[in-house]
Symmetry: D2
Subunit: 377 residues, 4 copies
Amino acid sequence: MTTTSHRPVRIVATDGPGQPDRTPALDDLYRGFEAESLIPLWTEIGDLMPPQPRSRALPHAWRWRDLLPLARRAGDLVPVGRGGERRAIALANPGLGGAPYATPTLWAAIQYLGPREDAPVHRHTQNAFRFVVEGEGVWTVVDGDPVAMRRGDFLLTPGWRFHGHHNRSDAPMAWLDGLDIPFVHLTESAFFEFGPDAVADRGTPARSRSERLWAHPGIAPVSLAGRPTSSSPIAAYRWEFTDRALRDQLELADDGHPGVLGPGHAAVRFTNPTTGGDVMPTIRAEVHRLRPGTRTRTRREVGSSVYQVFSGAGSVRVGDREWTVERGDLFVVPSWQPLTVASETGVDLFRFSDTPIFESLHQHRQHVGDDPEGAGR
Amino acid sequence: MTTTSHRPVRIVATDGPGQPDRTPALDDLYRGFEAESLIPLWTEIGDLMPPQPRSRALPHAWRWRDLLPLARRAGDLVPVGRGGERRAIALANPGLGGAPYATPTLWAAIQYLGPREDAPVHRHTQNAFRFVVEGEGVWTVVDGDPVAMRRGDFLLTPGWRFHGHHNRSDAPMAWLDGLDIPFVHLTESAFFEFGPDAVADRGTPARSRSERLWAHPGIAPVSLAGRPTSSSPIAAYRWEFTDRALRDQLELADDGHPGVLGPGHAAVRFTNPTTGGDVMPTIRAEVHRLRPGTRTRTRREVGSSVYQVFSGAGSVRVGDREWTVERGDLFVVPSWQPLTVASETGVDLFRFSDTPIFESLHQHRQHVGDDPEGAGR
Amino acid sequence: MTTTSHRPVRIVATDGPGQPDRTPALDDLYRGFEAESLIPLWTEIGDLMPPQPRSRALPHAWRWRDLLPLARRAGDLVPVGRGGERRAIALANPGLGGAPYATPTLWAAIQYLGPREDAPVHRHTQNAFRFVVEGEGVWTVVDGDPVAMRRGDFLLTPGWRFHGHHNRSDAPMAWLDGLDIPFVHLTESAFFEFGPDAVADRGTPARSRSERLWAHPGIAPVSLAGRPTSSSPIAAYRWEFTDRALRDQLELADDGHPGVLGPGHAAVRFTNPTTGGDVMPTIRAEVHRLRPGTRTRTRREVGSSVYQVFSGAGSVRVGDREWTVERGDLFVVPSWQPLTVASETGVDLFRFSDTPIFESLHQHRQHVGDDPEGAGR
Amino acid sequence: MTTTSHRPVRIVATDGPGQPDRTPALDDLYRGFEAESLIPLWTEIGDLMPPQPRSRALPHAWRWRDLLPLARRAGDLVPVGRGGERRAIALANPGLGGAPYATPTLWAAIQYLGPREDAPVHRHTQNAFRFVVEGEGVWTVVDGDPVAMRRGDFLLTPGWRFHGHHNRSDAPMAWLDGLDIPFVHLTESAFFEFGPDAVADRGTPARSRSERLWAHPGIAPVSLAGRPTSSSPIAAYRWEFTDRALRDQLELADDGHPGVLGPGHAAVRFTNPTTGGDVMPTIRAEVHRLRPGTRTRTRREVGSSVYQVFSGAGSVRVGDREWTVERGDLFVVPSWQPLTVASETGVDLFRFSDTPIFESLHQHRQHVGDDPEGAGR
């Protein structure tokens, strides 16, 4: 993957509008630049300043039926313990030069924990979540609070919280991990610390303490209210609530009322109840439900997304790629690539993206509609 | 520089704690991963999740006495016009693999405009500023407002504003350009648009319209007040005000009052008067003044900085590198590298950094003091 | 109640430290002031600038057993219709000179609607809520959305939303209305508008449309997310969620975990899910549960509160007053008056206050503990 | 002035739409309400909920030529010392029942300090400012920082800062004090504390320490930057800057550029450089300049203002009142009363208002134009 490279500066003269004549004097100048670790803008501007985002990442899909057997074999061959830390297998976007990145900013991996197995406690500044497409029996313990993982649940481990996992069942479990590892790596802001080797609280409550305090609609504990936190205090967003919110939206539409994102297209966002904003400073997470026979409008957006099919099936078009996807399948939408999803039989999609980065830094743009050019702000 | 790379995924097994035994079965598993564009965390975690930031960028210095002659020769050989857009020569950090980046997030370049020369109008989502270490006679025209450039001035071109330059004097002029080009490139959020070929308003006012509206201490026009803007509406921060603010701080310290950043060390930050925050969403800009005989405390910070000596001279230590610097010289401080500056004769330093990115995303940390280990949050 | 008064200015000379000698010349000066509509600070400062808040409002309690029969008789004698608008009977604090104000900023009234009766549609800038201590069968229709009212529910009508009520049952219903009428009256910011005479949507859904969109824990509709609103979009906070959140807090305490406000004292606040802040800009609303055998710590706070007993019974001390209260009873806590509540058998208390006003304007202070003097910031 | 009143509750039956028939039974009901400290909404709603704000305050003007002689006589007769605290003479709006309030929320007073006289140190939660229409020689010492007072200066004493004054000249000085005393009194949030009897720092610097740190355009000290404060850290906004900003606006208009509030009408607002918002949480302060021959558009606004003529003269229309005003004269604009100002010869007006209260609490509305009805949000 990306490593420190001491490749020397090399300037490649180009032709085209605004470029200097290629003379020996120019060549001499460029060699002078190289000797002083300098590079002109005029040879690079086409790459650095394109008319609109041109992602190095490629639209790509990974199949659950391919991923899961590999994860199982890793379960046999690869220990989980201090040093390796996690049996997590990352989606490596084929456009990103061999780096273990789903997109230039986002990490997506299948994590696999065997029966009765533990993953050791650590913490890092990277923000993390888990989404469970199938299985149960694992508790992730976040700052000492055991959080049950079950199909459909969305679980948070915001930056710098100690966390480990333990599988209390006799079956293995595999789930999706999402993090901002590439973004933190590129911006060089990562801190990491080991915790105690053993998970301290091996309790197996149905609801975490965080949920008992915070997972009530519009209700905050007075002892903690009025103090916004940078990430959500809710460790688990349970499927029963997500599903009900999606159903409610579609029923409202049936009754003629607004709320859905488009015809036949319900969508909910997981939020931080102390701010109303995204669950973590760098990651947005949503679930989209398409009714049978629905096709979304084409959407382009600054920043990248990763989707996982939670249930049902559909066909997805990203840029010039198109796939049929079904339960567990994952695909990525690079920056500013147009996305359309359609489903004959209905589909539920989990989505996460780096949008909060762009909204916070006032770099966000999106364009919805079928104009192939996209649009300005 | 960085281009889209279709280098296939390759997994390199490593030894060490938590790593699986290297068996044919493991090898087979890894080949299976590669075939599916997958990469394990456990072979990459040491690079991806270091105990503290380990920058690929190197501490490095560039000398004004080397830069300026190269810029002059570029003035002879390289036209400024549509396509190349700007005669700007970027500092290419030797650790960044040949990319024209001063740090992983920041661009720093010397821009050079010949006598009576123009640079064409364009706009881009990248945020830009200029800092003038010497010379005058150029006006940068930002959204139609001509802004004089003079020694010591700090000038803004926030994202998506049309801007061009024109040199009204018979002398060339060279200055420092700072932008967030690498950050925007890595996060793939760049938009760019050409403007009219000719700079429309060729006026040469001493103060821009933006200054006449906004550059009054603590005073806003009622017609625009109460509406925060993402970047500062002040196009030029004039040296006379910066210098006075620095002198005032040192005089306050002489009178026994707080205000300086450290003993003998005054420092001011350029701010957005509509919010009190940084001038642009991704860039912080400051001027630091060290009195003769001053040595700063050692400081480590998440994110990177570029410094330029405005006047005087001093000695700088960044990590394990040390230089003597003087007027016009530039140096970079990579993420989490310890920085100390000392001056026998006094020095004024212009500094810009990517700190607002980390503060907005709750990833910022700093450590001040002589503890070599740095510290946690 | 308060009316425009043209009482002429009259200055009453006082004795005491810092007061001028009472001479004919002084008398002459004071008559001169009066002639020019002027009043000195020095004769008024003791009243205007006390060492700590000295409320004109008195601690006072109203008994449900007294209120309800009066409301019923009003049901017989007083129509509900255009002009009078509502059959609401306000608590008039005995310290406030005959004004219909529970405290200097808060309005609290019993509203009574007979069987099959309607209250006409209007809107006003005053923020309003309803809290139901008993009964059901009424729907309040807020901007066209019918909201069922049931025991324990807390229902919002933020400023400038059209709203009317209709009773669909054969029984009358009485509930608590809370508004910021006195605050809006004193600051002279009231607007009012009649709506259509008849309630448009006479549907009787169990859940309002607002709940179907927004009353899911930590979940927002994507179509509306990311746009903070000044008041909560949730029209009804249902008792089942409030009760569960209170039970959860007490169970967490039983398990040795934090969350309660004090020993045996659970407390939840209703919040705006788009901001994490209070439900409306001027009103805070909470429910407090004291376990049997609990006594709260003494608390003083800038601003005033109104409490209603929802269930159980307890003894309340406010300043030098003390009452035993039971279901439906109401009492007020004026600014900076110390409050203690105790219960042998357990009690649930609904509370609303004007705290957001003071927090927004940086005037809030509170003091918890048994120090009779209170404390500074 | 307003004192605690134990006037019993009295209900006055009214006639009109929606009112009950006046029968003995109704009379009996009302007597029952009175006995229980209850008041119906239906008899009060016309006063409490008017279609638009109906201020009890009256449009009123005070003449400097009347105020100043009275202040001088007070200088002879009234000491300044502990207990009386200040020789301040408040404008008492004739509509406010004899209270020393310029408007329901704002206090405005002439303060007068004799030659070589001191005013003792105290602090209070009320926010205060001073505006100097003539004279100099007094320093106000705010938390130990001596702040010179000169013609045209606007000086801050935000809540809970210790402050005293001392006159270092042989001439008396009179100035305008503005505070939120009525608002704080009505909302019962006042705290007050005596400081040491003597002003500690009797220095007479031309610029305060606060100005040396903060009164530079768009520039903040790094040691304090990035930490918003609820009030501005600038203790003095000097006339030279205010005047220049006003001149700049008018010159921009001459050049065909935007910036003025209306034709011939420049206006600047004093702001908190740490937030870009108003100088203090409850008070907005502005200076307006009308060129000769200018008439403003009619403006109505929620909340009240006090104006003082700084120089020049003009004619003012507030509601149905009209005055000719000149240097030093003061007038008030009650909530939602239409205001028009015209000047044949040019006029500079200082203005302060309670607008931040309404903006913070989402109760603000304004209407600009000649429609006599005003308008909705």
